[in-house]
Structures are given as structure tokens and as C-alpha cells.
Symmetry: C2
Amino acid sequence: MSDAALLDTVPRIQQCILLARAPDGVPVADDFRVESAPVPAMHNGELLLRTIDLSLDPYLRSVIAGRHMGHAAPGIGGAMPGRATAQVVASADAAFSPGEYVLAETGWRQYATVPAGAVQRLDTAVAPLSAALGILGMPGLTAWAGVTQLLSLREGDTFVVSAALGPVGSTAGQLARLRGCRVIGIAGSDEKCALAMQHFGFDACVNYHEPSWEQRLRDAAPSGVHAYFDNTGGPILEGVLRTLRAGGAIVLCGLIGQYNTGVPYALPLAPVIGKRAHLHGLVVYDFEHRRDEFVAEVAPLLRSGTLRLLEDRSVGLASAPAAFHRLMSGHNVGKSIVAVSDA
Amino acid sequence: MSDAALLDTVPRIQQCILLARAPDGVPVADDFRVESAPVPAMHNGELLLRTIDLSLDPYLRSVIAGRHMGHAAPGIGGAMPGRATAQVVASADAAFSPGEYVLAETGWRQYATVPAGAVQRLDTAVAPLSAALGILGMPGLTAWAGVTQLLSLREGDTFVVSAALGPVGSTAGQLARLRGCRVIGIAGSDEKCALAMQHFGFDACVNYHEPSWEQRLRDAAPSGVHAYFDNTGGPILEGVLRTLRAGGAIVLCGLIGQYNTGVPYALPLAPVIGKRAHLHGLVVYDFEHRRDEFVAEVAPLLRSGTLRLLEDRSVGLASAPAAFHRLMSGHNVGKSIVAVSDA
């Protein structure tokens, strides 16, 4: 399609999604409102983008509540923030041409103007576009940083990861498995556990809704857990800590329960001392400067089929609120994506 | 004194101290009872010991409550456990001769029989006997393990330690200072803070009873804290965490508040993640096999006066209950020792 033809596809009015009210706990669809709004005018140095796949991530729950570092809350009536893959439909910056694909902070909308300096160019030869939202994006970098930079895994180690089907957990588990670890997932349903083993090749997976999940974890890790990648906090973290080997390591990456409730989660420390545990707080933004190294390792493994991804796709921007509810209540299966338009 | 003469000094009846009732929170003197009891008979392979200096340590509070790993609770009416320096007054083991000095689990009593295999010979040429209870003993090994094995301190780092006047804190601070760190203590009174600086050479010390203690810590550590050796847990740990540099390290060593109350202390995790902190649980028993290396480093520094110690001595076995109350309420100044008899 020619540059002009691309621009001709842009309507004057688009859909976007606003925060209608402050969510109470797990966000529900009625906390959001779909509105029509003009496609904004593009200024010098900006790009006009058409959203393709919108990424839904747990951190957005904290952003809404004004609790996420470096992100302003949208406020009631404000536009929902969010990252997406997008196509450049018009460019007012010499570095970008119409037709190129980028990763950008579009928010929950069909069209967005963004500064050209704030987007990241995507190469469809490297991987499917949507991988940039999951295994090759922030979640993948998070998993890579924890597994390769904060932990010192050895062949034969038992590695446990919670939220095992999510893009962070599934990537972390696969990377640990490539390093020769025995990998055990923790997930919220038997279906997810089956997928962790069949789709991602985990050695075992425990459904934490089973009352006996801790015993099952001990059965799956008879010599104890060497390393745990925690995406949840709460009773799951405390349970895995009880199965940790003395001197074992834990990456502290997410507190999904706390994102919903806002009630600060606190970890009893006596068991941490008793286990001589090593705990490492992980913030993915620290590893942005390692992104090239990360992509160089992971992209070829993804292309060769050694690493796999799993997406929970809902279709149409208007499906975002319900999909976000599913994500924040743990009912998504795989990386949560809203397919806003076709590539 | 000849071997027989030493034995002649042993009375038939001795004083010992029992647990009279379960302490409620901070132990008070009335929780204990001084009793007269026969000096026990020595069996084959045992030593009869005369207690010299009895060590009072916070872990005894957990032992009383039955919460300390590897230690049986004495129970109501049971004899109080405890370590002491002692002299062998009679030996039924070929490896020990009367007159020798040892470190042993005597309990709170004037005379004890113990298996010869359970004591550690002490050499008065290496250091003053009582150093084996503090800087050259378990507290010193604890400090050495945290500073040299769990942390990676660099010259110019800002190092903070709580319970700064105690044998763990004062040794940790001195060892960090020898490694070129700027050392800030946290202690419970202005008097203790003055001693931390004047006696132990700390660069600064903050009295945590001051409402503005956190601000004072920030003032004393304008570039933030690189490493923190925590002996307390609770609000002190949470306060220092707020002043920790991103990526800083914390040794988790003690939970003194919890020892008294038995209420498990829990640390809010979001700030740990936000600070990208590295937390390391420390249990001194893991480092027993490094004792020779530790003594080889610390004993010469103690003899040369480079490292110093500070003792809070009370005189006579009967003073132990009141001294233990002082220790567990934070009113001791330096290593808490009950001088039971002269060397």
C-alpha cells in the first residue's frame, strides 16, 4: 500500500477506552468506558500509529491506582495507558516511514500519535510482531534478567516459577530448562498445568487452588527447591519458601495479589533466615541496556521453535476491559493480548 | 594450684538458676529462680567445670520459648541453658587436664559436668578468655560471616549495622571499617551512639528512639546505604530499607523484637522489589567450619588493639536474671556477661 493509501485508511473518529471509575479490587468491565474520539493531529517529530495488538499486563493495575513507579495514574475519565504493536500510518520524523512496525505506548485506542523517539522499531523477520509484547518484550526481558542475571542456576537444579503460563513465567521456565534445570510451574488450574508441561515442556506443574498444592510441590521437588522465580507474593511465596533448600535463591518479581488490593504484602522473615535464603528484587527497567543481548539469545531460539509462546487473544478494542478482568483474576491462559486490528 | 587442690575448691552444693515461669514478652528477674543443688558427679569422658563468665545472648529468649533451631526448651522448673568460659577442675577424659580453660555449654550454674567432646579449648595467649563469648566467639563469627561471606563490600561503601554496641554489631562495624567502608551504627541511646563512635571508631551512629532517626540516617548517608547488617527486623529494618541504594544488600541476622513477643515479623515486599535489594539470611551455625579462618583474621587484630570489645559485666550468678532482662530490653551496653567466678 502506498504512503498516501495508508493514510487514506485512517478514519476521522476512532474508539478509545477511558477509566470510568476506580476499580475495587479486581477490575471489572464496568470500570472502563468505550468512547468515540477524533484521531489526533500529528505534530513535528511525531508518528501517527494504528494499533495492532494491545498488551494487557498486571502492572497496569498498579498504574490505575497510581502505585507504579514512573507512571502517572490516568485518573477517572482519563485514557487508559498501555503498550501495543502498531503500524506507522504517517510520519513527521525522518527516521520512520509509513508502513513500518513499531512497539509504542499507544494506550487503549485504535490510533495514537507518539513522539518518534519513544517508539521501538520492530522487524517482522526477527519474530512475529506480537512476540514484542511477550517473550521478546518486557515480560521476556524480565524472565531473562531473573534467570540469567540474578540467579546462578546449575544443571540439575530444581527451578520453580509461579504464574507459570504467563509470559514472564513461561519464558523463565523455558530458559531455566535450557540451562539443564528441572522446572516446576505453579499455576491456577489443571488446564494451565497441563499446558505448562505439554506446551512449554515443564517437568511438573502444581495447581495452587488444590488444598494439597504444597505437598504436591514437595513431591515434585524431593530434594527441595534450589531457585524460585516469584511473580505473586503471598501464600504461594510462603509455601515455596518452606520447600526451598537451605541457601536457595528467590527472585522477587511480582506481587499480583497486592496489585489488586493495594494492601501491602509482607513476608515473615524468620523462615527467610532459617532457610539462609537469598532474595533478589527484580525491576525490569534496570535491564533495558541489555535488551540487544537478550534479543540475540532469545529470538533465534524462538524462530527455531526451541522456545514457545502462548497467547490469550481477544478480538476488538472493546474487548479490552473484559480481557483485563480475566487477566487480573488469573483466568487468562498465556500472554494477554487484545487484537485491535490486523497487521 | 595442683590438680587435687583445684578439686578441693569445689563445694558440694552450688547455685544454679531455673526457669520459674514462662516469660511474657521481655523476661523479668521473677521469671527465674536461684536454687541450691549438689555439684553433679562426673562420669567417664566428662569434665567437671567451674563456670567463669556466663554469656547472655538474645537467642536464649527463643530457646526458652522453644523456638530456637536445634535447642530443646528448658521447660518450667528446668535449668537455664547457656554458654560460658570455664576452668576444668577435674577431668575424666585423657584429652583435658585440670586447670585448662574451655568454652562450654554449662548452663546458668556455678559447676557443670559436660562431655569432653562438647567443649572447645581456650588459649589465654590468643586473647582474654571472655573474648570467646563475644568478638572471638559465636557473635564474632556471625559478624565475620555476614561482612566477609555474604556481602561484597567495597572501599568507600556506606555500611549500616543495628544493635551497634552488641558483640555482633560492633564486630561487624569494625570489620567493615577495616575494609574501607563508611560505617554508621544504629543503637538505642545517645550514650550507646557516643560509644559506637568513640570506642569502636564508627563514623556516625543514630539513636533509633529519636523520632527523626530516619532523617538522621539519611543525613549521615547522603549517597544512600550500600549494605545493611540487620540484627533487629521491624521498623528499623524498614527504615534502613528506605535509605538503601538501588541494588543494595541486607544481611538478615536477628529479629530481636520477635524473640520477646513471639509474634512473627513480616517485611513488606514491594519496597524490597522497588529497591532491587539483595537479602541474605544468615545462620551462624553454617560457618562453624570456617572458625579457624575467622580466628586467624580476628585474634591478631584484637591483640594489636585494632579491634576492640566492650563488655557489660554483672557480678555473681544470681545477677543473671536481672542482666538478661537488661539485655532483652536493650539496656545493656556491650556484650552481656555474668561474671560467675574469677579466672
